[in-house]
């Protein structure tokens, strides 16, 4: 299932292995995993992601179809969690498979850049000073704009 939007935790390595097993014969696979960040300077106790699942599935399927065509990917998968997550937990994973490494890298970056701005998830960070909605970052718009 190339798009998965779920409140259940997922196992990044097991997902990569399942993805690789389905793609025998391809040369290059890229896995991007985004995990809940926390640092001593900016401690996060939990991250809550709100989601509009029906729209998320539609948007992620469209982004995947676009990436697959644009980079001639043999396969691509997006997994995105929502709900409340602890630091270190995986939030998102994209995987791409191609005969060539450049396409696999480009495809994975494209998917991440688009889903950051075009997939209906909203992050709320809780830390020692309270709970705040994460603001959209200009860099994410810039990152997306370079593909057009």
């Amino acid at each position: 299932m190339p798009v998965r939007v779920t409140t259940e935790p997922f196992d990044p390595g097991a997902e990569t292995n399942a993805f690789l097993a389905a793609g025998q014969g391809a040369g290059a696979a890229v896995t991007f995993t985004g995990v809940v960040r926390s640092s001593p300077d900016d401690p996060v106790t939990s991250l809550t992601l709100e989601c509009y699942p029906e729209l998320a599935i539609n948007q992620l399927e469209a982004i995947l179809a676009d990436a697959t065509a644009r980079f001639e990917l043999l396969a691509a998968t997006v997994i995105h969690r929502y709900g409340t997550l602890a630091p270190g937990e995986p939030i998102v994973q994209v995987m791409t498979l191609s005969p060539h490494r450049a396409a696999a890298f480009r495809g994975a970056e494209f998917l991440m850049d688009y889903l950051k701005t075009d997939a209906p998830f909203w992050k709320q960070e809780s830390g020692p000073n309270g709970t705040v909605w994460v603001a959209p970052r200009d860099e994410d718009d810039t990152a997306k704009a370079r593909w057009s």
């Binding site: 709100e50 998102v92 950051k116 701005t117 075009d118 209906p120 909203w122 992050k123």
Partner: protein, 83 residues
Amino acid sequence: MKILYFAWLRERLNRGEEHVSPPAEVATVSDLIDWLAARDEAFAHAVSKRSLIRAAVDARLVPHDAPIAGAGVVALFPPMTGG
């Protein structure tokens, strides 16, 4: 017509959804936002910066000038911050 709200828009309105029956002249997402704002001061305040409001009609992302005729579900929400 069902309206869904997400993230800080949901919080500021203190509701995640509502059912409304706008008149026929409310033709687009933009018209709908105006119509909702006219009914409810809290709503008007929350959407005062229109560039911060995104919309979907029947689970398809649309611009504010998209038609809403026949729509079952319209969603309104702030810029997305996934990934």
